[in-house]
């Protein structure tokens, strides 16, 4: 790669008591790419992602964003730096409306006295932006933007969470199993959405167990094993069974991939 990575991590370590979830793990994300992260259950993918998104503070190691070292102590700090995450559990508040959820933690206030002194939320503005975003992504047919999220189907909720990340991410978007709970049609939509987000220049980290999806959209595949990066492969040069063999330890990865 000739470009500089947008985000790099070196030697990340995270231990939970006696369990080592990350064992001196490295990570690189380049501008405009879709990087898939695959690995067995318990390989430490989630912990790696949480370390990058600020949900977990690593015990050791450094993370650099745009060449500057960062240490996120909370997801809020990561978000402020432009890193948006779609969590597997979606992190939506069921009783709140779609618009309230999309703007949770970064609400828009009314201008002037109402907003500055009475701290009044600008509901019409938030609802308009939420509706625009959802329409733009063409994800769903939602009649009422102020309906509670708990009244939506699983796919629609996923859509709201993805739309939220796409709307606010300025540096990168992390998606943890975005298609895991979705049907064929909705999965296709989310994959198209991922490519759509990429087209706008945002790099994406995609965590998934779905090999066909990973091989379809990813530019590079980061294979995680036993708490660290085993290798990075190009999906055009390897097959799905190769990737599965690497991540389960059935086959040793090639030297060239290890260096990448």
């Amino acid at each position: 790669m000739t470009q500089e990575p947008i985000l790099t991590a070196r030697g990340l370590v995270k231990r939970y008591g006696r369990v080592t979830a990350l064992n001196s793990c490295d990570f690189d994300l380049y501008p405009g790419e879709i990087l898939a992260v695959i690995g067995d259950n318990g390989a430490g993918k989630s912990t790696l992602i949480k370390a990058i998104s600020g949900a977990v503070v690593p015990d050791e190691g450094i993370i650099e964003l745009d060449g500057k070292q960062v240490l996120f102590k909370s997801p809020i700090e990561a978000r402020e730096a432009g890193i948006e995450t779609v969590y597997q559990n979606l992190a939506l508040s069921p009783a709140l409306s779609i618009a309230d959820n999309m703007f949770l933690g970064r609400e828009i206030r009314k201008p002037g006295f109402l907003g500055d002194w009475l701290r009044m939320l600008d509901r019409p503005a938030m609802e308009k932006r939420a509706r625009d975003k959802l329409t733009e992504l063409g994800l769903m047919t939602i009649q009422n933007i102020s309906q509670a999220v708990e009244t939506l189907s699983g796919g629609q909720r996923q859509g709201v969470a993805v739309a939220r990340a796409a709307a606010f991410g300025s540096k990168m978007v992390i998606m943890d199993e975005p298609t895991a709970a979705l049907g064929v049609k909705e999965s296709r939509r989310v994959l198209e959405l991922i490519l759509d987000v990429k087209k706008r220049g945002l790099p994406i980290v995609l965590i998934s167990h779905n090999m066909p999806h990973v091989f379809e959209v990813a530019d590079r595949i980061h294979i995680h094993r036993l708490g660290r990066r085993l290798c990075v492969i190009d999906p055009k040069q390897y097959t799905m069974s190769d990737a599965v063999a690497f991540m389960t330890g059935a086959k040793l990865p090639p030297e060239a991939a290890l260096a990448a």
Binding site: P75, A91, S93, L96, G105, R123
Partner: protein
């Protein structure tokens, strides 16, 4: 565009119209359920109107007069204000058992500062409010940072504050007359004015205004939405960028502050300031009003207007049974029925997903 995989080619011919279903699911009951789901204060309001109607019919004009109805408001002002504080805490899926004794100790501190120490009354009030807020802050810190269950934390502070109250005050009552002479401002919320036969105290006005302000804050400010989000799903709230600890601490502190404000109102209503009021079950009365008002004990659901209606329901029932000359225990019994009924309705409404 992404290349379409083999099994997905069938999608090209799939129906594109929005799914439509026969409307057999929308029976009247379902529609009521859905309405109640979107309007959480409706249930207590309906119960309130019904109970006023029932007592109005059985007792007649004596009950259904503006004098009696405003008298009920005067009787519930303190519990209504405490219920508002309790609502904030319960919305975060917590509970505050210490709220009643925080009120009492704040009243004692206000009274002592103004009457015994001879401080300016306004300063005494500020000190009392600060003391209440400090108690709430302690609860908040223990809940947010020590991650102790709110029930345990406030069970502890309930005892601690109650004992502190008795030790500090030596259980000496400050007499009504002394307050009147030295600190009439403490009796502010006991003052009343008449509109026809209706008698309203400033305490009643304060309760209504406070509930309206909190309603606005909970529904139209970011902080209010965060209170709901934290009670709904704390993990999701945290991941979506809400500083859950700060929200919890501010909620418990505000609850303590409101309890101290209730103290000021209670001095107006009772006249004297008695430390032994700490043994009254104000905390349970506030929880009762909140629960009957449809605030879910599991957090994140309900409207604070419901709490106001809940407090009024208890007031109406107790006044009505009183006027009917019933044994006071009937009021206790009926309150129990209302609590269980309210929670049962809450569970039923939660099942809706329309």
């Amino acid at each position: 565009m992404s290349q379409v995989q083999e099994f997905e080619k069938a999608l090209a011919n799939s129906e594109t119209s929005v799914a439509a279903f026969d409307e057999h699911g929308t029976s009247l009951v379902k529609r009521i359920q859905h309405f109640l789901h979107s309007t959480p204060a409706a249930v207590p309001l309906i119960v309130l109107v019904l109970s006023i109607a029932v007592f109005g019919v059985t007792i007649g004009g004596r009950f259904f007069s503006s004098y009696t109805l405003t008298l009920i408001l005067q009787q519930i002002a303190i519990v209504g204000i405490l219920g508002a504080a309790q609502t904030l805490v319960i919305l975060t899926a917590g509970i505050d058992l210490s709220i009643g004794v925080i009120m009492v100790i704040s009243a004692v501190i206000m009274g002592n500062c103004a009457v015994t120490y001879g401080l300016p009354t306004l300063l005494a009030v500020v000190i009392g409010l600060a003391a209440g807020a400090a108690c709430g802050l302690l609860n908040g810190l223990l809940v947010a940072y020590m991650k102790l269950p709110p029930f345990i934390v406030t069970l502890g502070t309930w005892n601690i504050v109650m004992a502190t109250n008795f030790i500090y005050s030596a259980n000496e009552t400050i007499r009504d007359a002394d307050v009147d002479v030295q600190a009439p401002l403490l009796h502010l919320f006991g003052l009343n004015f008449r509109i026809g036969t209706a008698v309203l105290t400033f305490g009643v006005i304060a309760m209504v205004v406070l509930v309206l302000i909190l309603w606005y804050v909970l529904n139209h400010t970011a902080w209010g939405r965060h209170v709901y989000a934290v009670g709904d799903d704390p993990e999701a709230a945290k991941l979506s960028g809400i500083q859950t600890k700060k929200v919890l601490i501010s909620v418990y502190t505000l609850a303590g502050l409101i309890a101290a404000f209730a103290a000021w109102v209670s001095i107006g209503r009772n006249g004297s300031i008695s430390p032994s009021a700490a043994v009254t079950d104000y905390n349970l009365q506030a929880i009762t009003a909140t629960v009957i008002g449809g605030i879910s004990l599991f957090g994140g659901r309900g409207s604070i207007l419901g709490t106001l209606f809940g407090a009024m329901i208890v007031g109406v029932v107790s006044m009505g049974l009183n006027m009917l000359g019933a044994d006071p225990q009937w009021k206790v019994l009926l309150t129990g029925v209302l609590i269980i009924g309210a929670v049962a309705i809450d569970q039923w409404i939660r099942k809706v997903s329309v």
